[in-house]
Symmetry: C2
Subunit: 134 residues, 2 copies
DNA sequence: TTCACACCTTACGTTAACGTCAACGTAAGT
DNA sequence: ACTTACGTTGACGTTAACGTAAGGTGTGAA
Protein backbone atom coordinates (compact mmCIF):
# COMPACT_ATOMS: atom_id res chain seq x y z
CA UNK A 1 0.00 0.00 0.00
CA UNK A 2 1.33 3.37 -1.02
CA UNK A 3 1.54 5.56 2.05
CA UNK A 4 2.41 8.60 0.04
CA UNK A 5 0.51 11.76 0.76
CA UNK A 6 -0.26 14.76 -1.39
CA UNK A 7 -0.87 18.45 -0.94
CA UNK A 8 -3.85 20.04 -2.62
CA UNK A 9 -1.67 21.61 -5.29
CA UNK A 10 0.03 18.30 -5.91
CA UNK A 11 -3.29 16.80 -6.89
CA UNK A 12 -4.38 19.91 -8.73
CA UNK A 13 -1.34 19.91 -10.99
CA UNK A 14 -1.41 16.13 -11.38
CA UNK A 15 -4.97 16.16 -12.69
CA UNK A 16 -4.85 19.58 -14.27
CA UNK A 17 -7.66 21.06 -12.24
CA UNK A 18 -7.76 23.93 -9.74
CA UNK A 19 -7.54 23.71 -5.99
CA UNK A 20 -10.92 25.35 -5.86
CA UNK A 21 -12.34 22.38 -7.69
CA UNK A 22 -10.85 19.95 -5.18
CA UNK A 23 -12.20 21.90 -2.25
CA UNK A 24 -15.53 22.04 -3.98
CA UNK A 25 -15.63 18.25 -4.21
CA UNK A 26 -14.97 18.13 -0.50
CA UNK A 27 -17.78 20.60 0.13
CA UNK A 28 -20.07 18.23 -1.73
CA UNK A 29 -18.95 15.30 0.39
CA UNK A 30 -16.93 13.42 -2.21
CA UNK A 31 -13.61 13.82 -0.43
CA UNK A 32 -12.64 13.88 3.25
CA UNK A 33 -8.88 14.40 3.50
CA UNK A 34 -6.92 14.34 6.72
CA UNK A 35 -5.77 17.62 8.20
CA UNK A 36 -2.53 18.89 9.58
CA UNK A 37 -3.78 21.91 11.45
CA UNK A 38 -6.02 23.37 8.83
CA UNK A 39 -3.98 22.17 5.90
CA UNK A 40 -5.48 19.32 3.93
CA UNK A 41 -3.44 16.15 3.44
CA UNK A 42 -4.53 13.71 0.78
CA UNK A 43 -3.86 9.98 0.87
CA UNK A 44 -3.44 7.58 -2.02
CA UNK A 45 -7.09 6.59 -1.53
CA UNK A 46 -8.15 10.22 -1.88
CA UNK A 47 -6.18 10.38 -5.09
CA UNK A 48 -8.08 7.42 -6.44
CA UNK A 49 -11.40 8.95 -5.45
CA UNK A 50 -10.47 12.06 -7.35
CA UNK A 51 -9.61 9.95 -10.36
CA UNK A 52 -13.03 8.29 -10.14
CA UNK A 53 -14.73 11.66 -10.01
CA UNK A 54 -12.95 12.95 -13.07
CA UNK A 55 -13.63 9.80 -15.00
CA UNK A 56 -17.27 10.14 -14.06
CA UNK A 57 -17.24 13.66 -15.40
CA UNK A 58 -15.84 12.53 -18.73
CA UNK A 59 -18.69 10.06 -18.94
CA UNK A 60 -21.25 12.75 -18.23
CA UNK A 61 -22.04 11.69 -14.68
CA UNK A 62 -23.03 14.28 -12.10
CA UNK A 63 -21.05 14.68 -8.91
CA UNK A 64 -23.95 13.07 -7.07
CA UNK A 65 -23.60 10.01 -9.28
CA UNK A 66 -19.87 9.89 -8.69
CA UNK A 67 -20.49 10.17 -4.97
CA UNK A 68 -22.70 7.12 -5.21
CA UNK A 69 -20.08 5.21 -7.13
CA UNK A 70 -17.32 6.13 -4.71
CA UNK A 71 -19.36 4.71 -1.88
CA UNK A 72 -19.55 1.42 -3.76
CA UNK A 73 -15.79 1.10 -3.30
CA UNK A 74 -15.85 1.90 0.40
CA UNK A 75 -18.77 0.00 1.82
CA UNK A 76 -19.56 0.41 5.49
CA UNK A 77 -20.12 -3.30 5.91
CA UNK A 78 -22.38 -2.86 8.90
CA UNK A 79 -24.84 -5.65 8.26
CA UNK A 80 -25.95 -7.92 5.49
CA UNK A 81 -29.15 -6.08 4.43
CA UNK A 82 -26.97 -3.03 3.84
CA UNK A 83 -24.57 -5.03 1.71
CA UNK A 84 -27.37 -6.57 -0.29
CA UNK A 85 -28.74 -3.14 -1.02
CA UNK A 86 -25.27 -2.11 -2.13
CA UNK A 87 -24.99 -5.09 -4.45
CA UNK A 88 -28.29 -4.14 -6.02
CA UNK A 89 -27.04 -0.60 -6.54
CA UNK A 90 -23.88 -1.89 -8.16
CA UNK A 91 -25.83 -4.12 -10.53
CA UNK A 92 -28.20 -1.32 -11.42
CA UNK A 93 -25.30 0.98 -12.07
CA UNK A 94 -23.66 -1.59 -14.30
CA UNK A 95 -26.88 -1.90 -16.25
CA UNK A 96 -26.94 1.85 -16.76
CA UNK A 97 -23.33 1.92 -17.88
CA UNK A 98 -23.79 -0.88 -20.35
CA UNK A 99 -26.78 0.83 -21.88
CA UNK A 100 -24.86 4.08 -22.06
CA UNK A 101 -21.97 2.28 -23.70
CA UNK A 102 -24.26 0.88 -26.36
CA UNK A 103 -25.88 4.22 -27.04
CA UNK A 104 -22.62 6.14 -27.21
CA UNK A 105 -21.04 3.66 -29.56
CA UNK A 106 -24.01 3.97 -31.85
CA UNK A 107 -24.06 7.75 -31.64
CA UNK A 108 -20.37 8.11 -32.29
CA UNK A 109 -20.40 5.74 -35.24
CA UNK A 110 -23.41 7.48 -36.73
CA UNK A 111 -21.77 10.83 -36.32
CA UNK A 112 -18.52 9.66 -37.83
CA UNK A 113 -20.15 8.24 -40.92
CA UNK A 114 -22.24 11.36 -41.35
CA UNK A 115 -19.16 13.51 -41.10
CA UNK A 116 -17.58 11.35 -43.79
CA UNK A 117 -20.55 11.99 -46.04
CA UNK A 118 -20.48 15.70 -45.33
CA UNK A 119 -16.82 15.83 -46.24
CA UNK A 120 -17.49 13.95 -49.44
CA UNK A 121 -20.19 16.41 -50.44
CA UNK A 122 -17.82 19.26 -49.75
CA UNK A 123 -15.05 17.76 -51.82
CA UNK A 124 -17.43 17.23 -54.71
CA UNK A 125 -18.69 20.79 -54.49
CA UNK A 126 -15.12 21.97 -54.52
CA UNK A 127 -14.28 19.95 -57.62
CA UNK A 128 -17.36 21.29 -59.37
CA UNK A 129 -16.28 24.85 -58.74
CA UNK A 130 -12.76 24.23 -59.95
CA UNK A 131 -14.00 22.63 -63.13
CA UNK A 132 -16.25 25.57 -63.88
CA UNK A 133 -13.53 28.05 -63.09
CA UNK A 134 -11.38 26.72 -65.91
CA UNK B 1 -37.94 14.06 -49.95
CA UNK B 2 -40.42 13.97 -47.14
CA UNK B 3 -42.50 17.16 -47.28
CA UNK B 4 -44.15 16.45 -43.99
CA UNK B 5 -44.26 19.25 -41.49
CA UNK B 6 -44.51 19.22 -37.73
CA UNK B 7 -45.88 21.40 -34.99
CA UNK B 8 -43.74 22.20 -32.02
CA UNK B 9 -45.63 19.74 -29.83
CA UNK B 10 -45.27 17.05 -32.48
CA UNK B 11 -41.51 17.29 -32.18
CA UNK B 12 -41.62 17.70 -28.42
CA UNK B 13 -43.56 14.48 -27.92
CA UNK B 14 -41.56 12.64 -30.58
CA UNK B 15 -38.28 13.37 -28.85
CA UNK B 16 -39.62 13.51 -25.32
CA UNK B 17 -38.53 17.07 -24.62
CA UNK B 18 -40.51 20.23 -23.83
CA UNK B 19 -41.56 22.92 -26.26
CA UNK B 20 -39.56 25.34 -24.17
CA UNK B 21 -36.45 23.38 -25.02
CA UNK B 22 -37.16 23.56 -28.73
CA UNK B 23 -37.77 27.31 -28.59
CA UNK B 24 -34.60 27.65 -26.60
CA UNK B 25 -32.62 25.94 -29.35
CA UNK B 26 -34.09 28.43 -31.79
CA UNK B 27 -33.10 31.30 -29.51
CA UNK B 28 -29.54 30.00 -29.64
CA UNK B 29 -29.62 29.86 -33.42
CA UNK B 30 -29.72 26.10 -33.90
CA UNK B 31 -33.15 26.02 -35.49
CA UNK B 32 -34.97 28.41 -37.85
CA UNK B 33 -38.40 27.00 -38.58
CA UNK B 34 -40.87 28.53 -41.00
CA UNK B 35 -43.79 30.47 -39.61
CA UNK B 36 -47.47 30.54 -40.28
CA UNK B 37 -48.37 33.81 -38.65
CA UNK B 38 -46.56 33.44 -35.40
CA UNK B 39 -46.91 29.69 -35.24
CA UNK B 40 -43.76 27.71 -35.95
CA UNK B 41 -43.81 25.05 -38.64
CA UNK B 42 -41.01 22.51 -38.68
CA UNK B 43 -39.79 20.71 -41.79
CA UNK B 44 -38.20 17.28 -42.06
CA UNK B 45 -34.82 19.02 -42.15
CA UNK B 46 -35.61 20.77 -38.87
CA UNK B 47 -36.47 17.41 -37.41
CA UNK B 48 -33.10 16.07 -38.40
CA UNK B 49 -31.32 19.06 -36.92
CA UNK B 50 -33.11 18.44 -33.66
CA UNK B 51 -32.01 14.83 -33.78
CA UNK B 52 -28.42 15.95 -34.28
CA UNK B 53 -28.65 18.28 -31.30
CA UNK B 54 -29.97 15.58 -29.00
CA UNK B 55 -27.37 13.11 -30.13
CA UNK B 56 -24.72 15.73 -29.46
CA UNK B 57 -26.10 16.14 -25.96
CA UNK B 58 -25.84 12.44 -25.29
CA UNK B 59 -22.20 12.63 -26.32
CA UNK B 60 -21.56 15.54 -23.97
CA UNK B 61 -21.33 18.22 -26.62
CA UNK B 62 -22.45 21.75 -25.87
CA UNK B 63 -25.14 23.44 -27.93
CA UNK B 64 -22.41 25.57 -29.48
CA UNK B 65 -20.65 22.44 -30.67
CA UNK B 66 -23.86 21.04 -32.07
CA UNK B 67 -24.46 24.33 -33.85
CA UNK B 68 -21.07 23.94 -35.49
CA UNK B 69 -21.84 20.41 -36.54
CA UNK B 70 -25.23 21.33 -37.96
CA UNK B 71 -23.60 23.93 -40.14
CA UNK B 72 -21.37 21.23 -41.58
CA UNK B 73 -24.43 19.63 -43.07
CA UNK B 74 -25.78 22.83 -44.59
CA UNK B 75 -22.78 24.54 -46.13
CA UNK B 76 -23.28 27.90 -47.77
CA UNK B 77 -21.12 26.93 -50.71
CA UNK B 78 -20.21 30.50 -51.56
CA UNK B 79 -16.64 30.02 -52.67
CA UNK B 80 -13.93 27.44 -52.51
CA UNK B 81 -11.86 28.93 -49.65
CA UNK B 82 -15.00 28.73 -47.53
CA UNK B 83 -15.51 25.11 -48.45
CA UNK B 84 -11.91 24.25 -47.75
CA UNK B 85 -12.22 25.80 -44.32
CA UNK B 86 -15.33 23.73 -43.77
CA UNK B 87 -13.53 20.56 -44.78
CA UNK B 88 -10.81 21.34 -42.27
CA UNK B 89 -13.42 21.84 -39.58
CA UNK B 90 -15.02 18.55 -40.44
CA UNK B 91 -11.70 16.72 -40.23
CA UNK B 92 -10.83 18.40 -36.95
CA UNK B 93 -14.20 17.50 -35.55
CA UNK B 94 -13.76 13.91 -36.62
CA UNK B 95 -10.42 13.84 -34.88
CA UNK B 96 -12.03 15.10 -31.69
CA UNK B 97 -14.81 12.56 -31.88
CA UNK B 98 -12.44 9.68 -32.46
CA UNK B 99 -10.34 10.68 -29.49
CA UNK B 100 -13.46 11.01 -27.39
CA UNK B 101 -14.58 7.60 -28.53
CA UNK B 102 -11.30 6.06 -27.45
CA UNK B 103 -11.37 7.75 -24.08
CA UNK B 104 -14.98 6.93 -23.33
CA UNK B 105 -14.58 3.32 -24.29
CA UNK B 106 -11.63 3.05 -21.98
CA UNK B 107 -13.45 4.83 -19.16
CA UNK B 108 -16.56 2.72 -19.52
CA UNK B 109 -14.64 -0.54 -19.60
CA UNK B 110 -12.54 0.47 -16.61
CA UNK B 111 -15.65 1.35 -14.69
CA UNK B 112 -17.37 -1.88 -15.60
CA UNK B 113 -14.49 -4.03 -14.45
CA UNK B 114 -14.16 -2.07 -11.23
CA UNK B 115 -17.85 -2.50 -10.54
CA UNK B 116 -17.37 -6.22 -11.07
CA UNK B 117 -14.62 -6.26 -8.48
CA UNK B 118 -16.68 -4.19 -6.06
CA UNK B 119 -19.55 -6.63 -6.39
CA UNK B 120 -17.24 -9.55 -5.80
CA UNK B 121 -15.92 -8.00 -2.61
CA UNK B 122 -19.46 -7.39 -1.44
CA UNK B 123 -20.52 -10.95 -2.11
CA UNK B 124 -17.53 -12.25 -0.20
CA UNK B 125 -18.24 -9.99 2.73
CA UNK B 126 -21.81 -11.24 2.72
CA UNK B 127 -20.72 -14.88 2.75
CA UNK B 128 -18.33 -14.19 5.61
CA UNK B 129 -21.11 -12.72 7.67
CA UNK B 130 -23.45 -15.59 7.01
CA UNK B 131 -20.80 -18.13 7.94
CA UNK B 132 -20.12 -16.40 11.23
CA UNK B 133 -23.81 -16.03 11.97
CA UNK B 134 -24.26 -19.82 12.06
C1' DT C 1 -70.61 32.99 -28.03
C1' DT C 2 -68.11 30.90 -25.08
C1' DC C 3 -65.07 27.42 -24.08
C1' DA C 4 -61.05 24.74 -24.62
C1' DC C 5 -56.82 24.15 -26.69
C1' DA C 6 -52.59 24.93 -28.81
C1' DC C 7 -49.68 28.36 -29.79
C1' DC C 8 -47.10 32.68 -28.79
C1' DT C 9 -43.78 36.26 -26.16
C1' DT C 10 -41.57 38.22 -22.16
C1' DA C 11 -39.21 37.69 -18.30
C1' DC C 12 -37.64 36.16 -13.98
C1' DG C 13 -36.06 31.71 -11.47
C1' DT C 14 -33.11 27.54 -10.92
C1' DT C 15 -29.31 24.13 -10.72
C1' DA C 16 -24.66 22.32 -11.22
C1' DA C 17 -20.05 23.17 -11.17
C1' DC C 18 -17.09 25.76 -10.49
C1' DG C 19 -14.48 31.03 -10.91
C1' DT C 20 -12.99 34.92 -8.56
C1' DC C 21 -11.95 37.98 -5.25
C1' DA C 22 -10.84 39.40 -0.31
C1' DA C 23 -8.69 38.81 3.84
C1' DC C 24 -6.01 36.11 6.59
C1' DG C 25 -2.31 32.44 8.61
C1' DT C 26 2.27 30.24 8.39
C1' DA C 27 6.76 28.74 7.14
C1' DA C 28 11.04 29.30 4.50
C1' DG C 29 14.53 31.96 2.44
C1' DT C 30 17.36 36.64 2.15
C1' DA D 1 11.97 42.36 9.05
C1' DC D 2 10.38 41.55 4.54
C1' DT D 3 9.04 39.04 0.65
C1' DT D 4 7.47 34.86 -1.56
C1' DA D 5 4.96 30.77 -1.68
C1' DC D 6 1.41 28.01 -0.30
C1' DG D 7 -2.38 27.20 2.52
C1' DT D 8 -7.07 28.56 4.64
C1' DT D 9 -12.24 30.30 4.91
C1' DG D 10 -16.04 32.95 3.42
C1' DA D 11 -18.91 34.81 0.05
C1' DC D 12 -20.51 36.66 -4.14
C1' DG D 13 -20.31 35.96 -9.46
C1' DT D 14 -20.87 33.22 -13.74
C1' DT D 15 -22.40 30.08 -17.47
C1' DA D 16 -25.22 26.65 -19.74
C1' DA D 17 -29.49 24.78 -20.32
C1' DC D 18 -33.42 24.97 -19.49
C1' DG D 19 -38.06 25.60 -15.91
C1' DT D 20 -41.86 28.26 -14.73
C1' DA D 21 -45.27 31.44 -14.56
C1' DA D 22 -48.15 35.36 -16.52
C1' DG D 23 -50.63 37.18 -19.95
C1' DG D 24 -52.05 37.47 -25.02
C1' DT D 25 -53.60 35.34 -29.81
C1' DG D 26 -56.15 32.30 -33.01
C1' DT D 27 -59.24 28.58 -34.15
C1' DG D 28 -62.41 24.95 -34.13
C1' DA D 29 -66.23 22.55 -31.51
C1' DA D 30 -70.47 22.73 -28.48
Amino acid sequence: MSNRSYSITDLATDFDITTRTIRFYEEKGLLNPERNGQTRIYSAADRIKLKLILRGKRLGLSLEDSKDIIEMYHPEHDNSPQIMKLIDKIRERRRLIKEQLRQQLQDLNDMLSELDQAEERCVEALEDMQRKAQ
